[in-house]
Each structure stands twice: as C-alpha cells, then as structure tokens.
Symmetry: C2
Subunit: 276 residues, 2 copies
C-alpha cells in the first residue's frame, strides 16, 4: 500500500485540500435537533458521510464526542468508520493518544491495525512523553500504510509557553518535534508521520517544506484563519501535503445534507485556490 502521505496527496488531487471534521458535540447535536446519545451520534455521522462522500477526500471524527457515550458511543464511531471506508473517504481519528511501551502499542492496535473495529487511516497523537515513545504507533503505521499525526504547534494560547520552551540545544520544543518528525519521514517512516500545526500561528524556525509528511492544520474558518493565511503559512509545501481541517463553519450548515455539501464544497474550493 502507498504510504499515508501519498494516499492523502491522491485524495487531495481527486477532490481538494480539505479535511472535514465530524464533531458531534452537545451543541451541534442540539442545533441539528438530534438527541445527545448513541442514536444521535449515528444520525449525525451518517449525514456527514453522505454529504462529504465525493465532495472531500478526508474526514476527521473527534473521538472525544463519541467517548462521552462510552461503549455505545464507540459502537457509533465504529459504524461511522465503516461507512467512511465504504464511501472511499480517508479517516483521521482525532484521538490525541499518547503513552509509552506496550501501552502505546495498545493504542497502535486500536487505531492502526486493519483488523481493529476502530481502524482508521491515521490517528492524532500527543508526545509529552517524547516522540520516540510513540514508536509502536509509528511502526504499525509504516507496516499498514497508515499515519500518525503528532500535535506539534497548537494555536491555543495555553499551549504556547510549553511548546516554545527551549531544549538544551536552544531549539524550541515545537521545532524539535517538527525536526524529529521530519527525521522519521526521511529515514524509517517515509510519509508516515504528520504534524498538527495551527493555522493561526506565525511561522516558526522549522521550514515546514521539509516535513515530509502530512500537515493537518485546524483553525481555518470559524476559528479565525483565512484561506489566504493558510496559503502564506504553508507556501512551498508539496502539493497535497497540507490538509486544513474545517469543522464548525461546515457543520453549522447542517443538518441538511445538501447544506453540509454546499458548505464543504465552498470551503474546499476556497482552499484549493491557495493550496494546490
């Protein structure tokens, strides 16, 4: 199987540079007049898949909103993942998992093993325990043509002091994270390790053109970054490697499938002008 970055690039060529969030929060379920339970999650997800299939290449369900409903919520998520696969959509499970050793291996098996009911094309991860601790996830992703997308630079203000802290060699935590991701993509894990980089941030010292993996960038649309800002921040990155995530501004166009599809198409086309 092609590596994850190649699969994303193919999806972007086929449709456009966008990832649509599937975020069945309490607020959105209420706005769509759906119950905040497993059945509401199911209906919400089915509408998203119907609207996004053929419109965008990648979707990103937010696992936290499913986890609120325990095993019943996870069953709804499994149904969504299965429907997305059948619709030919790539899925980034936004789970932000992170641990060490055989625990990291547990998360790898959950999200990146083709036999798992939660199998996704990529999973987001957090590396407070060090990027190296995520090796079981990276190794399994390499073996299965999947991806691990590690939070590197987040735009929320609470995260800035930590991510801008300086390591012993004077490199910031966030830039060292990006360097280490690039090293993996350049050596043992080609195209496998992506980074989450907030769209509303000013550039840091690390040249994102060298990452060698997918850049997932939230913050576009409702969260404040314009398509133009995205074009500037990621100028020079390989075609199909930058995946802006749009959630609220599309999902607030629901609950009608037609409304969702129109909003996703508009966001996709705006981004295509600056990114492809």
């Amino acid at each position: 199987m092609a590596d994850f970055a190649a699969r994303v690039a193919a999806a972007v060529r086929a449709t456009g540079p966008i990832c649509c969030g599937i975020d069945p929060s309490s607020d959105l379920l209420a706005a769509w007049e759906l119950p905040d339970d497993a059945q509401g999650l199911r209906t919400f997800g089915a509408r998203c898949i119907e609207a996004f299939s053929g419109t965008v290449g990648v979707v990103k369900p937010q696992v936290a909103f499913y986890e609120r409903h325990g095993s019943a919520g996870f069953a709804a998520l499994e149904e969504l993942l299965s429907a997305a696969r059948q619709a030919g959509l790539l899925v980034v499970a936004d789970a932000k998992r992170g641990d060490i050793a055989n625990t990291a291996e547990g998360y790898a098996r959950a999200w990146l093993d083709p036999q798992s009911p939660l199998a996704s094309d990529a999973v987001t991860a957090v590396a407070y325990l060090g990027l190296g601790a995520l090796a079981p996830l990276v190794d399994r992703a390499v073996a299965t043509g999947r991806g691990v997308i590690v939070v590197a630079r987040s735009s929320n203000p609470e995260g800035r002091p930590l991510q801008e802290a300086l390591m012993a060699d004077g490199t910031s935590v966030e830039d060292r994270m990006l360097e280490a991701i690039a090293e993996l993509n350049a050596t043992t894990a080609p195209g496998t390790v992506g980074a989450v980089v907030g769209a509303t941030l000013a550039p840091s010292s690390f040249p994102l053109t060298r990452l060698g993996g997918v850049i997932l960038t939230p913050g576009v649309g409702a969260q404040g970054a314009t398509a133009d800002a995205v074009g500037t921040l990621f100028a020079g990155c390989p075609t199909g490697s930058v995946l802006p995530n749009v959630s609220r501004s599309v999902l607030s166009a629901g609950p009608s499938v037609e409304g969702l599809r129109t909003a996703a198409t508009r966001a996709r086309d705006e981004l295509a002008e600056v990114l492809v």
Copy 2:
C-alpha cells in the same frame, strides 16, 4: 463529597499506599491463558477486582488495553468500573487524555461525569496543549469530587528532553507543570489535580511537598524503583497523598486470585513501611 485527594487519603489510611494497575495486555492475557478479546478482558478484570478488593484502596485500569478491542473492549471496561465501584475501590482511569475547549469537555463528560458509563474517580491527562486547556476536566472534577492526574515528570528517557526544556522564565516544563498544578489545588480546585511523577527520577527543583494533590508514581517494582527510593523521593509529602502504582510485579503473580492478593499485599506492606 470530599475532594479527590481526601478520598485517596482515606483509602490509603484504610488499606495502604498503593494503586494496583489493571493492565490486560496481550502478554498478560496470554500468561493468564485468557483469550485476547472482550471476554478475556472481562475475566482478567473480574479476577483483579476480586483480588484487590479489601486489599488495596485504588486501582488503575489502563484504557489502551481495552481500546484495542473497540466498543466491545469499552463494554468490558464499563463492567470493570462498575464492579470496582461496588467493591468500594477508587478507580483512576489511565487514559492520558488531553485536548482543548469542547473536546476537553467531551473527555470530562466521558470520565468524570457520574452519569457516564465510564465514570471514574480520576482520569490521567496529558497537557502538551497547556494545563490551562484542561480546565473543562478540572472544573468537572471539582464539581463531582473527582480528580485529574496530569503527567508532569515521566521517567522514560524519550520524555526527558521535552520535560526538561526551559520556559521563558527559566523554569523547566515539568516544574512549571507542577507549579501550575499546585496553584490550582491552592486556589480553585483544592485536592483535585494530581501529578504523575516517575518513581525512578531524581528530584527536580519543585518541592513535591507543596503539590496539594495526589502524586501517582509509576515505576515501582518491575520497572526498577525500590520502596526505599520512593520513600526518599517523596519524603515529607502529606500522608496518603503519594500513590505508587504497581502493575507488572503484582499482575505477573496471576492468574490465581490468591496469588494476586498475596503479591498486592506484599507490595502494599513494603510501601507502607516507607510512606505512611
């Protein structure tokens, strides 16, 4: 309801200063001659609850090992949590969740809402996005007498460079994390926010005696820290605030309930000599 730290202190007084991990990894399931599926998880958990009830005060299921089996794994975890509650055991769900805004609120509802099928007494969290981003978890924990235990200092070598990086004021990431946790416990969230501090580390600059919350400390037993080392690292911390986690050295005494109970009792009594 008493705050989380007070509830842990009461449990430690009643039994002893130990938290027993419930880690149904592939390896341990095989060693116990159980299938690596939801039924295996169920049997593993039931034996742990039977062995630990009345022997220790706190258990820590590792969520990753349940997540491997998707919704069926989560259903087994829900059964475990219910059995632990009925047995009077405090439960720390080792999930290492972390996100921002309404996503963090989703995790708060999953693990800290008494109505959730996954309701636990505390959940572990990771704060690469900043401790402040975990406010929805902390707020819900305060409201429900539960806890949030944030990874601050991990002993795995991959995590040291990041956690020792220096913030703008010269404080290390890990010490700033501990300071911020102490601030929360001293102000808006008394007894609510704990820290994960590896037992095999040398002390850092932050005086752990000032944390004001529970210190969960893995690394005791099979991972290398002796009871004496724990006594030294946490000298002066309030009675009942330090919770060494013991997993492998107890669980490898399974699958017999009697073997587990004997191993847990021995570990508990060793730790009681240095900690209470």
